[in-house]
Subunit: 259 residues, 2 copies
DNA sequence: CGCCACTTTGAATTAGCTCAAATTCCGTGG
DNA sequence: CCACGGAATTTGAGCTAATTCAAAGTGGCG
């Protein structure tokens, strides 16, 4: 699928020995500490920035495309989806968000939000006036690093998503989606052996750039291979007996698509 | 292609009357003022932040995946590509950058860059130590807004890219790619009736999530339809007689893909 | 209990991919 | 200046992964 002719200097030697201890750092920090880190960050924000707490329920909209930007939002609990809309009527789920994530960042640049943010469950959102945040940040520069890290993460994540869509076949994309969802839960100290998909097949497909039928078939195949299992009664609950197997599945397909 | 069943509350009424003056704002600011705005921003940075100027030539690498993050980079001139790499060897062009753009933002979060940034032409890059920037920002908060705007833009742009890949057929994606390239040049006050593609078909295809053959065919079709024309001798120079026609082409396909 | 939304599965279709061959361009060296 | 060779591009011809269309199955909820 991919041509490796991207650039003369783009060879795999770069993935070899000299460079990235990044992975090592990530592994050292286990999920417990990830979860603690999120808690600490939330504490810091709570302590240093004036904020308004808002409870939301499934289906509630945090902000809508076209709305004037004024606030950033930090998610304290719940599950959220980001839905982008464009002028010609296309729409797409471009992100899924959890506790500790920031949303509304897309509105800073031109003063208007470019997407909808919708709750998929009950939860609590912290509303932070952007101006108030900037003032607070001058007094407590640590806040800046927190915000910048959040934006940086978002950028890195969006690029990974683009890469998945462009370089992985459908089955691997679905596997990767599940793997990433589980990873997100794990980092927040939540249960990961059994997960609840809070989206319909159509939404998942929209998010991953495929049709609902393809999602359904991919899930069926994953189940047939024993990589996942559906919990009795109801196809929104998925059991993941072996996370390694799931990761391996995605990996194997990724490798296959290289030649 | 897309199922509209993304969510109960996701209907097109939102695209109607009440909300977005965003478009109006964008139109009022014409390209001249865009160009001036970029110049002003660069002046502001130059005045308030300690920076190092670096000249680069085609093929030069600004930073590489795996490298320790320490600096942000502001592009003063030239053309650049962002190439993401991941552990299993897949690689993809995930961004194209011009004068006024910031790069290196992806490294803030975990302290390591996740991509390569490569010059596609001679140009000048301003290297800014992140720590130095934060210090300067406390004294001149306008700097913060500039950085945040850049990051916000990046996020919005990446999501649009994801949306293009997921919702547009190949021909429309290529047309959209050209349109966006031209728009970027226009905002910087550069020539737009004739543009030089600084990438091979393979690179364009990689960026757009399709093969080089598909890019070639799409360009041929665009040329056959008179939406673009190849300048004599050399298929890297493209003439765009009518930008509206190009935009219309992409638009038409987008609309078609909705039903 | 029955409706409705969601899901699954099958069969046919197709957009885009792969493979292959011909062509053009460009730099390099004679 | 021209000839040559390698890289990039174009175009054609099958092939395949994913889509579309269709029908049946399932579960949740009033």
């Amino acid at each position: 699928m991919l041509q490796d002719a991207v650039s003369p200097q783009s060879n795999s030697y770069r993935l070899g020995s000299p460079a990235p201890p990044a992975g090592a750092v990530r592994q050292r920090a286990d999920n417990v500490s990830f979860s603690q880190q999120i808690a600490q960050t939330l504490d810091l924000i709570d302590a240093a920035v004036p904020l308004h707490r808002r409870m939301v329920r499934a289906g509630d909209c945090i902000y809508q495309a076209g709305e004037r930007f004024g606030s950033l939002y930090v998610l304290n609990s719940g599950f959220f989806k980001i839905v982008n809309l464009n002028a010609d009527g296309r729409e797409q789920v471009t992100g899924l968000k959890f506790r500790g994530d920031w949303i509304g960042l897309d509105g800073i640049a031109d003063g208007y939000h470019a997407c909808d943010a919708i709750a998929m469950d009950t939860g609590e959102v912290w509303v932070i006036r952007y101006d108030a945040f900037l003032e607070a940040a001058v007094r407590a520069p640590a806040l800046l690093r927190v915000l910048h890290a959040a934006m940086s993460c978002e950028i890195a994540h969006d690029r990974n998503a683009l890469m998945s869509v462009c370089t992985l076949p459908a089955d691997a994309r679905v596997a990767e989606f599940l793997r990433h969802w589980v990873e997100s839960l794990a980092k927040r100290g939540m249960r990961t052996d059994e997960i609840t998909l809070r989206m319909t097949r159509a939404e998942i497909g929209n998010y991953l750039g495929m049709t609902l039928e393809t999602v359904s078939r991919a899930l069926s195949r994953l189940a047939r291979d024993g990589v996942i299992a559906f919990v009795e009664k109801g196809r929104r609950e998925v059991r993941i007996p072996d996370l390694q197997a799931l990761a391996g599945f995605a990996q194997r397909y990724a490798a296959a698509s290289l030649h």
